[in-house]
């Protein structure tokens, strides 16, 4: 059971993020939900690459006689972290602009397109 703990945590974070996106009535909270989902996905990816008893995949001054953990998920996670920052920045900018126009952060009141 313990060996699946990190997977479960990651999925739990994703589900909590989805919960926040659907039920929270505040744009910033929705963005926080998206951030939670990103954290969950990152944790999931890194957990995929872990190898029991492995060392970090860096040869500089590495201890001898150990296996290394898988490096590919780490590279993917790096990419995904930076992408997460980019999306967060863009969403926050858009919510600032929405607040400027609508004077509210409540998504149920931001319905200008429906007339």
């Amino acid at each position: 059971m313990n060996s699946y703990l990190a997977y479960f945590t990651a999925l739990l974070l994703i589900i909590m993020g989805i919960y926040a996106v659907i039920f929270k009535r505040n744009l910033i909270k929705i963005v926080i939900g998206v951030s939670l989902m990103e954290s969950g996905v990152n944790l999931f990816l890194v957990a995929l690459g872990y190898r029991q008893g492995g060392i970090a995949p860096i040869y500089t001054m590495a201890p001898r006689g150990h296996q290394m953990v898988l490096p590919t998920p780490q590279a993917l996670t790096l990419t995904s972290i930076v992408i997460g920052l980019a999306t967060t920045a863009l969403m926050l900018t858009l919510s600032i602009l929405l607040y400027k126009h609508y004077k509210t952060l409540d998504p149920t009141k931001i319905r200008g397109l429906m007339k």
Binding site: M37, L45, L76, T79, L90, L94, L98, Y102, I110
Partner: protein, 520 residues
Amino acid sequence: MNIIDHAPALLVAIPLFTAFLYQFIYYITHKNIRYLATVALGINWILGISMAFHVFSSGPISYVFGASSPGLSLPSGYHFPIRIIFEADGMSAFMALIGTTVSFVGALYSESFAKRYSELSKYFSLLLLLTAGLLGMVLTGDLFNFFVFFEITSLASVTLAAYRTYRKESVEAGFKYMLISTVSSLLILVAVGILYGEYGALNIAKVASMIQYTLLDKVALALFVTSLAMKAGSVPMHFWTPDTYGEAPAPITAMLVSASQASLYGLFRVVFTLYGLKISTLTVGWIIIILGVLSMFIGVTMAIIQKDIKRLMAYHAISQTGYMLLGVGVGLATFGTDAFLKYGFTAMKGGIYHIINHAFYKGLLFLTAGAIFYRTKTRNLNEMGGLAHTMKYTTIFFMIGAAAIAGLPPFNGFASKLLIYESVFKFNPVLSIIAMMVSILTLASFVKVFYSAFLGPKRIKDGKEFKEVPPNMVIAMGILALLIVIFGIFPGFVINNIVEPTARALSSPLLYISTILGKM
């Protein structure tokens, strides 16, 4: 160095390089920067056409980034690809053909249309990034790379949709699109992670050759199908489509149609190639068919009651996406049986032919809507009228586009719809009848647009008549109109030389796999 060998990489690298160059040049000069995008995308267009015909005539090509030669997909002595590989088979080349054409037209049109926006260099940079994103999505042969380009496309299109920040509706549409596309892209990343965890590979061909269709694979498939169908704008996940299409500037909307189709491509690639060897075709085929029928019907009925011209067209985009899903879904549902050879393959050809037709005529229609907006400053159909008196070219182009989308002969929409009707009728007559009914309703709603925007007495606003739009906008619309007419008059030629290789490539996953992994 053969330029065709490098075409898959260059198709993405040229727009990216130009996008970065825009920000650099912006700090040196402000003059004439509008034309750079058109030139770069024109080169891209030529490259796209030549690559497509090369692929159609002599089979798929792959491009390995960072290897010592472009075709060297496997390191010596190993049986798995390790680098990022672009693979242009018939389907990818076909989508690249669409993407390059529409992006060139969009850039040409933007030269005049976007002239009034401030920070013009940002606009053109984003346009180029959107192009690079959608071309990357269709060319890539790597799952994670697909996700990265998916994000580039989302971010660029969000900003372009929200570009007119002084309109509150624009910003709202941008945020909504951003939210749903971020959530869906994260779930795609989960699916990619699941596949990586199971098979230790990211290359589509490699994963396809190993796939088992376990419970975990099924979950990943569901995540892929839902996310990509959502991005393609299928009902009931279509709510963002009218918002975003309606609020984006017209040339961007024309490109967003292609971006949606790139997601549609992703959906087809996942079900046909990635899972193609093991999938339960009937279940997934029927899921796609049901999504398609819902999209067709609800899209068109919602379109009839709209009074905003671009929202109306956006609902039609949803409804036309349904035709593609229906055609290819029937192909998938019969995949691997005798029925596939009898009518399933024809249905797939119809669906694929409809993709290129839709990209062109819906692009043209959005551009004419933009031309109307450019002069009248309104998108409300109730406030328009009498434009046929002065905007003659726009009227003609609109008529061509409307006739094509409604499936009137001899335009291209008729040819693809004919293929879909007749083959789907063999599969299930009810579906075919619904498709025909939708076509009639489409015609009805475009008659409404034509009547209320172009007919009627001449209108005068602020003491001026509405003049024809500037020449490069007319040329941009003219290119698409010409393509529509050609595709309509020579359907046999197009089917044999473009659509058939594409459908064949899509329906043969083994060819895709063996291009990377060699003969197994």
